[in-house]
């Protein structure tokens, strides 16, 4: 069969070579190919970096809080500097209470920001309060900087009736349109192409001139397809946007060395035509300066900018994780001591007489009291009305399937809610004890 087709191939080949090609003549000379401005070269050279050596890491303070030669601390004023430190300190104050609360079974889950306080709060401080924030889940510090109430944080973690999210998502999935903080969701990196859309909307809206979007994600999330999609969309379509990568060395148990083989996340920015900087993520002033400038560039060019903040995840990934199963405890302790973002900024502030030992102790006391007060209140509050399980699925007219589910649950509650111990106990946790649904069922039976 193959042999029989050979004559045909010969004929095809002859006809192609004899008649299809244009006659040979001097081709026009050109300097580059149609889809690139790349110069043509006779030398065969492969490369795997766009910079000689690694992309440098921008730093302002060394690990003792001393200004590095040639670096500049931003001129933000005394109150701002103190507030930055206080907010960074509030993070572990909240984290420690809620982490322990999970350990005691009061809340179901928690994720701390230990070690990344400077990256998160330092970047937040460089933003305008109306800049749109799309986060991953370790960005509570942005909300704290924006004075999001401790009561709402606690209500979210407890799924209490005061939770603006109505108790539906796992703890630490915060969100608040008033604080321009888009609600966190668990699927990693989905917020990255969404941020491209948010930035495009800002670009189009005259009322939002001067605002940018910032999109936070970890170095692990940057392996998702949505990272590629989001950077591609944003770089081509434009809009004021800061991609902020928290490179803390681990995605749960996976070290960065098993996440990528290139030079971190920063090396990818230029591939998309995106202005990029790598910054010492444990240096609050370096992060602040970098994001401030990234913000200016994003606004000026209406294009995305990438910031990679190098830091270290001091805490476990989450309360469901024991990180000593995959990294030595000593390594963590070393990082806490050698390169502590809180210590670094504190030493700097003390050297400038902006902070004192007594400031420190009164701050710790007042923060702990405020956090515990909010915690105790949230703990005492019931869960939302039972019927709220069924709202907000579809907007507009409620589809029949939701209505029927609610009615069926009401029927079952009327029948078993007071007799079946498991349900009786469960219902007591909800506002109105589930009577909002049982009542609806009773009315129906009367009809």
């Amino acid at each position: 069969m193959l042999r029989r087709s050979l004559p045909l191939l010969h004929r095809l080949h002859r006809s192609l070579s004899s008649s299809s090609l244009p006659p040979l003549s001097q081709p026009p000379t050109h300097g580059h190919l149609p889809n690139t401005h790349s110069a043509l070269t006779p030398s065969l050279h492969f490369f795997n970096s766009v910079l000689p050596g690694q992309i440098p890491t921008y730093r302002v303070l060394d690990s003792n809080g001393v200004i590095v030669d040639g670096a500049e601390v931003p001129d933000v004023g005394r109150e701002f500097a103190r507030r930055l430190y206080e907010t960074m300190m509030l993070l572990p104050a909240v984290d420690n209470v809620l982490y322990n609360a999970q350990r005691h079974g009061s809340i179901s889950f928690y994720m701390t920001t230990h070690g990344e306080e400077a990256a998160v709060v330092g970047s937040a401080a460089a933003l305008s309060p109306t800049d749109e924030v799309l986060g991953q889940y370790r960005e509570l510090g942005v909300l704290l900087w924006r004075s999001y109430p401790l009561s709402s944080i606690m209500a979210q973690c407890f799924s209490s009736m005061d939770d603006p999210g109505k108790g539906r998502q796992m703890p630490v999935h915060f969100g608040s349109p008033a604080h321009h903080f888009h609600t966190i969701s668990s699927p990693l990196a989905t917020q990255i192409p969404q941020a491209a859309g948010v930035a495009f909307a800002l670009k189009r809206d005259p009322a939002r001139k001067g605002d940018v979007a910032i999109c936070y994600f970890g170095e692990g999330a940057a392996s998702e397809g949505d990272f590629h999609a989001g950077l591609g969309m944003a770089s081509v379509l434009g809009g004021p946007l800061i991609f902020f990568c928290r490179n803390n060395g681990f995605a749960i148990s996976t070290p960065a060395a098993e996440q990528y083989a290139g030079d971190g996340i920063a090396s990818r920015g230029p591939g998309y035509g995106i202005r990029t900087v790598r910054v010492d993520g444990n240096d609050a002033w370096a992060v602040y300066n970098a994001v401030k400038e990234a913000r200016r560039l994003a606004l000026e060019y209406q294009k995305p900018v990438l910031v990679e903040a190098m830091t270290y995840r001091v805490g476990h990934h989450s309360t469901s994780d024991d990180s000593y199963a995959y990294r030595p405890k000593q390594e963590v302790e070393d990082w806490k001591r050698i390169d502590n973002p809180l210590f670094r900024l504190r030493r700097y502030l003390e050297s400038q007489s902006l902070w004192s030992e007594s400031d420190e102790s009164s701050l710790r006391t007042s923060q702990r009291e405020a956090v515990l007060a909010a915690f105790r209140y949230a703990e005492s509050r019931p869960k939302p009305r039972l019927g709220q399980m069924f709202t907000d699925v579809w907007g507009g007219e409620e589809p029949w399937m939701i209505r029927e589910d609610r009615e069926e649950m009401g029927r079952l509650l009327n029948k078993y809610g007071n007799v079946w111990e498991g349900w009786r106990r469960e219902l007591e946790r909800f506002d109105a004890g589930g009577r909002d649904m049982m009542g609806a069922g009773e009315e129906e039976e009367e009809n």
Partner: protein, 380 residues
Amino acid sequence: PPTAGGHLPTIATSSLLRTSRDSALRSPGIQWQDPDSHSHSRDTRKLNMYQAVRDAMATALIKDDTSLVFGEDVAFGGVFRCTLNLAEEFGRERVFNTPLTEQGIAGFALGLAAMGHTAIAEIQFSDYIFPAFDQLVNEAAKIRYRTGGAYDVGRVTLRAPCMSVGHGGLYHSQSPEGFFLGAQGLKVVIPRSPLQAKGLLLASIRDPNPVIFLEPKILYRSTIEQVPTEDYHLPLSSAEVLIPGDSLTLLSYGTPLYHCETALSLLRSPPPELEHLVPPSLRSAKVELIDLRTIVPWDIASIVESVNKTRRLVIVHEAPSLGSISSEIAAEVTKRLFLKLEAPVRRVTGWGTPVPLAWEGLWGPGEVRVLDAVLETLMY
């Protein structure tokens, strides 16, 4: 009776299409969006389906400054011509190409909508919606719920050509609607004709929920109707009775509706080669033909009302039966009308294989398969 072949309805000659101005303006459920205008001044234009889709998007772009149309290759008019000249008319800032990334397109649309803008995005073929599945199922469908209503992305509409085109093979023929049945919070809509496409698409764009709008691509050029020039909606989650009847409910949507129409013609007056297979007593059966139109959330009231009357149900769609909307409908109808049914609910669907290129003519629910299911159900 008419002779074989020549008088069978085709898509082009279908009586399901409204080819006069009067019948178009009297379409059931039509909701005019310009309250000031009067019915005597309303006009229609003869359009095929891609032109009607284009007309709907132009209407949305005119009425809403925040609305944007984007996707792969939409700027030059789209590979199916649905966005023809929209970029010239409304500017590249509002009608533009995106990089080739479906998850990027969907995510971008959600970001726009979260900011209150109207996103009308195109996925080039519904076969390629799956890279965006995560953005649609985990994000679009759940954003209102998970934020307690603080954010919603109801201003997203994702258009995608769907269903078989005769030679599309595995990846230019699929009907993915069944995959979205479990995505509570999304709507899925499929039109059958130009007039339907415009009214349902405009309703989808303005609906407070993210909508996946699937356009049967074989109908883009083959269906031609008089389409009202004004802004109008057709209701979502509302099925439409196309041919009333009392002996069997024949339920479908999109392209197979036309196969159903042909099947009913075969039933009424079988051509000589089929005459011996169609018992004369069944030829006068009055079959009720219904267009489901919205797949999620579907119109259970209309279906139950019809089957309560006819006591027999045949469901026809191109997607294979496993995990499809007909599974849902069969279960719900059986639950509600168990004692009324005089035959099992029957489904005529694509065979349970990927869409195979060489066999495409025998793969879908063609008119003979529909005829057979109707006969078997009537004779049960």
